[in-house]
Structure formats: C-alpha cells, structure tokens
C-alpha cells in the first residue's frame, strides 16, 4: 500500500474483528464529500457537481422532513387527531379520558350544564377548529393551487397573509429594538468634560471619542438622505465624511470577521487531518 509508505494511517473502514464499521464508512464518505466541495476552488468538475447535486437533494429532503415533523405534524395533524378523538368521546359520552385541556374544560362545563345545548357545543367546536386549523390549511391549499394556472390567483391570499404578518411585526419591533434603543445609546454625556478640574487626559479622550462617534453617526445618516443632492456647505462635506465613516466600518468589520471564518476552516481541516487521516491528535 503506497499510502502506508507515505506514513499515512487513514481511518479504517473495518473494525478489528472484520466487521464493517459504520463510523469508519461515515468518516470516509464525509471526507470524500468535503474534498469534493473543496475541489470547486480549483475548478468546476464532476466531483463537485456530484457533491453539489447530492447536497441540494439531501438538504431539500431534510427541509421536507423538518417541516413535516417540526411544523406540520405538531401544529396541524396531531391537534386535529386529538381534537377529533376527544370530540368523538364527548359526543358519545364514552368513558375514555379526554386529553386536550381545552376540550376537558368544555367537557366539564357540558357535564355541569354550564355550556348550553349540545348544538352550541358543536358550533363552538367547529368554530375553534376552523379558526385554528382549517382556515390556515385552506390558505395552504390555496398556495398549492398555483399548480393550476387558472386558479393560481388564489395564492394571493396566503401570500398577503404572510406579507402582512411580516410587515406588521417589523414596524413595531424595529421601532422597539432598533430605533429607540439606538437613539438612546447615542445620548452621550459631555458633563465630565464641563466639570473637569485641571486637565484630565482620560476624560478628554473619552469625550473626543464620544464626539467622533456622534458626529460620524450623524454624517453617516446624512449620507442616506435621498431627497437632495449631496452638495453645498453642509450636505456635501457631511455626507462625504459619512462615507468615510462607513468605509472604515466596513474595513474594520471585514478584518474582524476573518478570525471566525478561519476557525471554520480549521475545524474542517482538523476533521480531514485528524478524524480521517489520523495525522493530528
């Protein structure tokens, strides 16, 4: 084996007894796929194409599995099953215990004659099921109706619902979390500078920093000013300085992120050199 001559000692696929090691095979597959994706850096080739298509396929499948188990099942299928079972038990007055707390509450009220007639119960039950489960399901089906072009306009309803949801939330949360908080954080105090006795370089430096921060902030905001040409005595220089501040920001955060990105690369190479080639302990 030439690999042994190189002093390489790859992760074995077989265990000492001769049985196939799942971990060994897994590590080999993972390593080959890793190299396949890295081969893209050299140029587009069949190994990369293979890994890419496999990756897209697996991740699309994973999305479906995740959506089914994490969203669709707990928020639609299981509740519908539970509610219907409980409903059946209540209507037939069977001795099976009712599971859903809401239904349990209704059952006790029904038994105590506080709910009204059975008809009323059926009405409220249907109403609740409709609002919580059927209505969104209908909206979902409307989305699927896109496959038939003449009914595709139905998909506007679910789309509008989702867009409205996002827009509504965004208005209040940005006001709350971004605007008010960020504006408040910019209220720096120059009081120490005013009350300074003698010359304290620490306070002067702090105040200078605060001033640069606020001045830079205001200029950068002015850069985003749309309804006037960035010319003249104030707007021109201010927006220019604003661009400088933004550029320094971009440079600095680029430089700052490098470390985190390299950590990821180190992680992958530790896997390749350690788990797979067993070169690094």
């Amino acid at each position: 084996m030439p690999l042994f001559m190189l002093g390489l000692n790859f992760k074995p696929v077989f265990e000492t007894g001769g049985a196939v090691s799942v971990e060994g095979i897994g590590i080999w597959i993972a390593a080959l796929l890793t190299l396949g994706i890295y081969s893209f850096l050299y140029k587009d080739n069949f190994v990369y194409k293979f890994s890419e298509y496999l990756f897209v396929g697996i991740s699309a499948g994973y999305t479906l599995v995740l959506t089914f188990h994490k969203y669709l099942k707990p928020s639609l299928i299981e509740p519908l099953q539970e509610y219907s079972r409980d409903f059946y038990h209540i209507i037939t007055s069977s001795s099976f215990p009712v599971v859903n707390p809401w239904m349990l509450d209704w059952q006790t009220q029904l038994i105590a004659n506080k709910f009204g007639t059975q008809f009323q119960f059926i009405f409220w039950f249907t109403f609740k099921i409709f609002i919580f489960y059927l209505f969104p399901a209908i909206l979902g089906l409307m989305m699927i109706s896109r496959v038939i072009p003449s009914a595709a306009w139905l998909s506007r309803f679910p789309l509008a619902t989702i867009v409205g949801y996002g827009s509504g939330i965004v208005i209040v949360t940005t006001l709350h979390a971004s605007v008010l908080e960020q504006v408040k954080a910019s209220f720096v105090s120059f009081a120490p500078l005013l009350h300074m006795k003698g010359i304290d370089w620490g306070i002067i430096a702090q105040s200078a920093n605060d001033f640069i921060l606020v001045f830079g902030l205001c200029c950068a905001i002015i850069y985003f000013y749309f309804s006037a040409e960035h010319k003249g005595v104030i707007l021109g220089p201010a927006s220019n300085f604003g661009i400088w501040v933004l550029m320094i920001t971009f440079g600095a955060s680029f430089g700052y992120t490098v470390m985190a990105r390299i950590s990821l690369l180190i992680g992958r190479f530790q896997f390749l050199l350690g788990d797979w080639m067993q070169l690094v302990k």
Partner: protein
C-alpha cells in the same frame, strides 16, 4: 390504532376534496376583481394591524399569548403547504432534465436519489432513525460546514483583489482592515513594533479596539437607523397596499 389510520385516511380525502373545491371555486370566481385584488390586500392589512395590536397588549393578558400562538401556527401551516410547490418544481425540473437528457442529466439522478432516500428514512423514522442519522451526520453536516468554510478562502481572494488604494474611500477601507487584522493576533503586535515612530505612541490592538468602539459603532448604528426607517416605511406601504408589486399581475 385502526381507528387512527381510518381517521388519517379521512383527513387526506377531506383535504383532497377541499382542494378540488378550492380549484373549482378559483376557476369560477376568477373574474371577480374584488376577490382578486381587494380581498387579498384586506387580508394583508388585517394581519398586519393584528400583529401591531398584539405588540401593545400587556404580556399578562392571555390575548397576547393567544394571538402570538395563533399567528405563528398560521404562518407555520401556510409555509409548510407552500413548500410543496417548491419541491414539485425541484422534482419535475430534474425529471425533465433526465428524460430529455439535457446537459449534466446524470447528476440529476444523484439529486433525486439523495432527495427521496432522505425523505423515505426521515418520514419513516423521524429524527431518531439510524439511517437518517447517518445521512445527517456524515453527509449533510460535513457538506454544510465545508461550504461554510469555503468562505475563508474567499475572504483571502476578496481581500487581495478589492483592498487596493485606488481612491480615498478604498484607502480608508483597507487601512482599517489591516489595522484590525494586525490587532487581532499576538503576532500582529510583534510586527507592529517594527514600524518606526507610530508604534511608540500607539499599541495596535488598542488602535483596533478604538476603531471598533468608535467608528464601527457609528457606522453600524447609522446603517441600522436608516434601514429601520426603510423597514417602517416599506411596511407602511405594504400594509396600505401602496406597494403591491409582489402580487405580480394586476388583472
């Protein structure tokens, strides 16, 4: 157990019937301008206003939690259903590619195999299944983190290409980046100490820290504030139906 299967079957048939009804409705009512144009906008508006209203309800009030629950459930259910169209598009496209023998059609087989095998084991056993676990741990996660780590290479090539002092702005960009990079690692300070004059007055890691606390804060805050205004104005336009290009055709 038997009854449950019966119920699930009933549920599936029910949804199919519902779907057919919806399609029929959609085709018969497609000329109604009110249904096509106004009602969706009303949905959007009502949903948005409800979410705003919910924000201002005290969390102690049970309504707060109820609206939150209801809306997240709705969105989850709708987007779960919506996923189906995407997947249909993915699968039919790749089937077409295979059957018409377009370029690279062989890889589409790989894609579909990966897709269906993952779905098969995933739907059968959930997340605990041995096979699904294997796919997840030895194929999905490694490829994901490898793709992520490619970023490190691109950071290098982008830096080499873009950080050139062509203009005053570009010079600021590259100077800030270089100083911060020097300040992040110990070796940087060592190298910095060889630079005459400047190194005597400034420590590079402190300089990097200073850039970060003063300039980065100012710049990011400005972007955030501007973007917030953009967010608010855009949401406002969407809620009131001024911006509705996302609907596509008007007719």
């Amino acid at each position: 157990m038997d009854k449950m299967a019966l119920f699930n079957g009933f549920l599936i048939i029910f949804f199919i019937v519902l779907f057919v009804l919806l399609i029929v409705m959609g085709q018969t009512l497609r000329t109604s301008l009110f249904l096509r144009r106004k009602l969706p906008l009303a949905f959007c508006f009502i949903m948005g206003v409800t979410m705003i209203f919910q924000f201002f309800i005290p969390p102690e009030n049970s309504l707060y939690k109820e609206i939150e629950d209801l809306s997240t459930k709705w969105i989850q259910i709708i987007s779960s259903f919506a996923l189906v169209i995407g997947l249909i598009s993915l699968v039919t496209m790749n089937f077409n590619k295979i059957s018409r023998k377009y370029e690279d059609w062989q890889y589409s087989i790989v894609l579909l195999l990966g897709f269906f095998i993952t779905i098969f084991y995933g739907l059968r056993d959930g997340f605990e299944g041995k096979e699904f676990d294997f796919i997840f741990n030895y194929m999905y996660v490694p490829m994901q983190s490898t793709m992520f780590s490619i970023l490190a290479f691109f950071v290098a090539s982008a830096a080499f290409r873009a950080f050139r002092a062509r203009s005053r702005e570009a010079t600021l960009l590259l100077t800030a980046a270089v100083i911060v990079m020097l300040g992040r690692v110990e070796l940087g300070s060592v190298i910095w100490s060889y630079i005459p004059v400047v190194s005597r007055y400034f420590d590079v890691s402190e300089l990097a820290q200073w850039i970060n606390t003063v300039f980065t804060t100012a710049g990011q805050r400005a972007i955030l504030l501007g973007a917030s205004l953009g967010y608010i104005a855009a949401s406002f336009k969407i809620l009131l139906g001024i911006e509705r290009s996302y609907f596509g055709s008007e007719e």
